[in-house]
């Protein structure tokens, strides 16, 4: 009786005692992994925020863009001005996980268009009024924008005759910015800001 009554107890005890040790070990291992992940994740996040991240992996398509970000003042592309203001790539190219995964797949499978001569990707202009004129970036209305350049002989931001155009029509972030007004408005050819060019007046398309 005692044997039969004892043995389950012993077996129970034998099973019970090592369990807390295992659990503790698991917690420690888990904590270490978590800490490593946190540190790595945090480190990765910080790296991910840097422009240099962009061409570290996707080096072929991104090199010219990252170069343009770090270019000296006066180089073409308004990305230089943005860089001086400490605006990072991801402030405009917002990091959305689904888009990034899709882009990653496009990169791996080669499903994207690259101009090997100019070292640029196919243009995907998204610089619209809504995109650029917002409370976190250029916090102003179109009228206020026009006011900022009202001292120019030809106010390039006065769109009253045409409704509006996309900012990206003239402003190129990673290439030569070009005033489009001048194709029809001769006055717009006469006062071109430094670093800018313009479409010749009356040019046939």
């Amino acid at each position: 009786m005692s044997e039969t009554s004892n043995s389950p107890q012993t077996a129970e005890q034998a099973e019970k005692t090592p369990q807390p040790r295992k659990r503790r070990k698991g917690i420690v291992v888990g904590s270490i992994i978590a800490v490593v992940l946190i540190v790595a994740g945090a480190g990765f996040w910080v790296w991910h925020e840097q422009p240099s991240f962009c061409n570290a992996i996707c080096h072929t398509p991104m090199d010219s863009y990252v170069d343009s970000y770090y270019a000296d003042e006066g180089a073409e592309g308004s990305v230089v001005t943005h860089a001086k203001a400490n605006v990072k790539c991801l402030d405009c190219h917002e990091a959305k996980i689904d888009e990034q995964v899709t882009e990653g797949i496009h990169w791996v499978s080669g499903d994207y268009v690259f101009d090997g001569n100019a070292n640029v990707l196919e243009s995907r202009s998204f610089a619209t009024e809504e995109f650029c004129l917002n409370k976190n970036c250029h916090n102003m209305t179109l009228d206020e924008l026009a006011e900022t350049t009202s001292d120019m002989p030809w106010n390039v931001h006065n769109f009253s005759e045409h409704g509006v155009t996309d900012c990206g029509t003239c402003h190129s972030m990673h290439g030569q910015s070009t005033i489009a007004c001048s194709e029809c408005h001769k006055e717009a050819t006469e006062d071109i800001p430094d670093g800018w060019t313009c479409i010749p007046y009356g040019e046939e398309r």
């Binding site: 268009v113 196919e122 976190n136 194709e183 398309r205």
Partner: protein, 493 residues
């Protein structure tokens, strides 16, 4: 601008996921991308719509606004960086008859009188069916614009019109940019702002009917828009000198008042889709174009009182005759041009003088007529004799020896102004053959199913010469008409 510098749970998870994803990517080599040359061959789907409107000038925007209000799904394509097209350059106003503004001014007008002026002014070459439709619906179109806050309430006189019927903005600003500004907003408010930098170049035809449009985007890719109907509102070819010279070789080197996008794209696309052309060689030269900048001096400025004086200091024609007649007379003068001369009264009525001519420094201004003559470099004695005689005849009520019988206002209020002008390419009267439902017709006179057109791309209304104020009338009346027929067609098919 950064979302947050603190490491939130979300950003940690994002970072961790990115880490995992990048580790996975590190193990792989990216495949070679496609070249831009390869990509140019690929077609991008632009979407499916009831109607594609090609060209965001006055006609295209009128068609778009009307079609959206009628419940159709519409996309509006524009190859230039901004909306407006040649409408941006319309200076004078919009002809319309039997309007409340005419009634208020006590002016008696009728559809028949307006139609007859248009037909006679066009050398009896126009299609009376189209002309009558335009004139009969001109007041509706004027009221329709007014209902959207685009008010053309200032009545004036224009060349070839029997009665004052050209309607302009109350402020005196040029009509074109006023309409474009208003209509661009109407389009945007309806969520159909023009897709700019989108260059349409082919009508897709399937089994003899329209099935969409192929266009080239800014990146050089072909974008395919699927639709049951296409409304072609691409304007004329007044900036395509090679095309102009096919019909009028002497225009190869002439200056043009047209915007550079006016290349005749719709004529080319339309004929490829089987459209017939009408009056295609009828090209209007405008008599008062400043030659160094191709800036148009509006006909309204003569309508408000300006005269034309040659380099000898003499008038040579009734300045209010039709554009072709006045242009031909200018070509006969020494230097093949003339001076448009006017005073403060005219300046005050036309803001474009300050905005364009003063701003571009292409106008001569003086406090006396004598010093104006000196600055112009014309003989002072002859010039003064011309002006004195002109003013004296008005004061005496004597008939003008050159037959000018309207817009007779003395030129006597300083400062005085003069602009050197000569003829310039202005308007293509010919184009795609349409009926009064704005359906595009083939060589047999049958409508091409799903193909509609309005504005300067079409022909048949203005015949051999367009009257000032009739283009703005045409784009609004037939812009609306094309949309009405297109919406009916889409609903039935």
């Amino acid at each position: 601008m950064n979302a947050s510098n603190n490491l939130s749970r979300r950003s940690f998870l994002t970072g961790a996921t990115m880490l995992g994803a990048s580790v996975a990517l590190f193990g792989l080599n990216g495949c070679a991308p496609r070249s831009t040359a390869d990509a140019a061959e690929e077609e991008v789907d632009g979407g499916t719509f009831d109607i594609v409107v090609v060209g965001a000038g006055g006609a295209g925007m009128a068609a778009t606004v009307g079609a959206v209000d009628a419940g159709a799904s519409v996309v509006l394509l524009e190859k230039m960086p901004v909306a407006g097209g040649n409408t941006c350059f319309a200076e004078g106003g919009m002809n319309a008859c039997c309007t409340k503004y005419q009634a208020e001014a006590g002016i008696e007008d009728s559809v028949a009188l307006f139609a007859n002026d248009t037909y006679e002014g066009g050398h009896e070459l126009g299609n009376m069916e189209l002309i009558t439709y335009m004139c009969a619906n001109s007041n509706d179109a004027l009221e329709w614009l007014g209902s959207m806050g685009i008010v053309l309430s200032k009545l004036s006189t224009s060349g070839g019109a029997s009665v004052p019927r050209i309607h302009r903005p109350e402020s005196g600003e040029a009509v074109g940019k006023y309409i474009v500004k208003g209509m661009a907003k109407q389009c945007a408010d309806r969520g159909v702002a023009a897709k700019c930098n989108m260059d349409a170049n082919e009508i897709i035809m399937e089994d003899g009917h329209v099935a969409g449009i192929k266009a080239t985007n800014a990146a050089g890719r072909t974008v395919v828009y699927h639709s049951k109907a296409v409304i072609m509102t691409t304007g004329g070819f007044g900036a395509n000198h090679k095309m102009l010279a096919q019909y009028r070789p002497e225009l190869l080197d002439a200056v043009t008042t047209n915007q550079p996008g006016a290349q005749g794209d719709g004529i080319v696309m339309g004929t490829e889709a089987g459209a017939d052309l009408v009056d295609i060689g009828q090209i209007q030269v405008h008599p008062t174009v400043e030659q160094t900048t191709a800036t148009l001096l509006s006909e309204g400025i003569r309508g408000d009182g300006a005269i034309l004086v040659n380099t000898d200091g003499n008038r040579f024609i009734n300045e209010l005759l039709t554009r072709d007649v006045v242009s031909a007379a200018e070509w006969q003068q020494p230097g093949k041009g003339a001076w448009a001369v006017f005073d403060k009264k005219v300046y005050d009525e036309n803001t474009s003088i300050k905005e364009k001519f003063i701003a571009r420094n292409i106008i001569t201004v003086a406090d006396t007529l004598e010093s104006l003559a000196d600055k112009m470099g014309v003989p002072q004695e002859a010039f003064m004799a011309t002006l004195d005689s002109y003013n004296q005849n008005i004061a005496d009520g004597t008939d003008d020896p050159l037959g000018r019988w309207k817009s007779l206002y003395p030129i006597d209020e300083a400062p005085f102004y003069a602009v050197a002008v000569a003829p310039g390419i202005h308007h293509c009267m010919g184009g795609l053959r349409i009926d009064d439902k704005a359906q595009v017709l083939d060589a047999d006179g049958n409508p091409i199913p799903g193909f509609f057109a309005a504005g300067e791309v079409t022909g048949g209304i203005h015949g051999g010469n367009r009257l000032g104020g009739n283009a703005v009338c045409d784009i609004n009346v037939f812009g609306r008409r094309s949309q009405q027929t297109a919406v009916e067609y889409v609903q039935q098919s």
